[in-house]
Assembly symmetry: C2
Homo-oligomer: 131 residues x 2
DNA sequence: CGTTACGCTTACGTTAACGTCAATCTCAGG
DNA sequence: CCTGAGATTGACGTTAACGTAAGCGTAACG
């Protein structure tokens, strides 16, 4: 077993967040690093969770939603019923995300249309000034 | 010219937001409806802008960023230099959005992997209980 | 002509997600 | 032993994005 660990400042440097942010996430039970004495020690799993948290944030998820999403990636030794409930939740999130992707594609297309329009206008203006 | 307009409550009903929200967006200069006396009257263009605003929000953009994005869809009678600057800004946003889509695809794939893992576990548990 | 519905402004309140600051601890180096 | 770098825990401050409540205008309806 690979026992790589990180101090708070190492993790902060890597992901460009402040210590305050990590402690805040911990207070919200999104991460729970080990303690060596009083100090926090982050594992590979903590690091992975942080990655997921920050990704979630970039898509506009609230921390509370992210906390639920993280449970999907936890999935330790659950009971069957628990597991099935979790799976159902995952399906929901999946379709939400797929819907989001459709919207994003739409937004990208719209923007491209606008840009082409803009290109044309620039071209016309340049021709006009050449005359 | 099609002169369809909307009252504040009509627009609110359609997009499931409160009047306060629309007034707030107006105060931040994201929309600027006509006034009939004191009352606001929203045009088709205002409605389109609102649509874009809400879409932006769903992707985690801040209102201030959205305000800039909206300028791209405005593009009235700009000067050439202005137009080119706007175009450059659009290119930036475009690549940001494409980056976001890559991340989203990644997130979706990750989730699918987890779900398959979950399916397997459920299957094994069911077989175990059948024995 | 009263009231009910809708709208307006002003202004203070609220929640999420941290920032910032102070006081304390702790441990390796000189 | 002293110092300084990094860590910790409160605790209050801040910003964005609205919510909410008060007080007022006005216009149609019974």
């Amino acid at each position: 077993m690979d026992e790589e660990t990180y101090t708070i400042s190492e993790l902060c440097a890597e992901f460009e967040v402040t210590p305050r942010t990590l402690r805040f996430y911990e207070s919200k039970e999104l991460i729970s690093p080990q303690r060596i004495g009083q100090r926090r020690l982050y594992s590979r799993k903590d690091r992975a969770r942080l990655k997921l948290i920050l990704r979630g944030k970039r898509f506009g998820f609230a921390l509370e939603e992210i906390r639920q999403l993280l449970e999907l990636y936890h999935m330790g030794d659950q009971q069957l019923t628990q597991l099935e409930r979790t799976y159902a939740l995952a399906q929901q999130h999946l379709s939400e995300m797929e819907e989001k992707r459709r919207e994003l594609d739409q937004a990208i297309d719209d923007l491209k249309v606008q840009m082409r329009w803009c290109e044309d206008k620039v071209a016309t203006l340049k021709k006009g000034s050449a005359a």
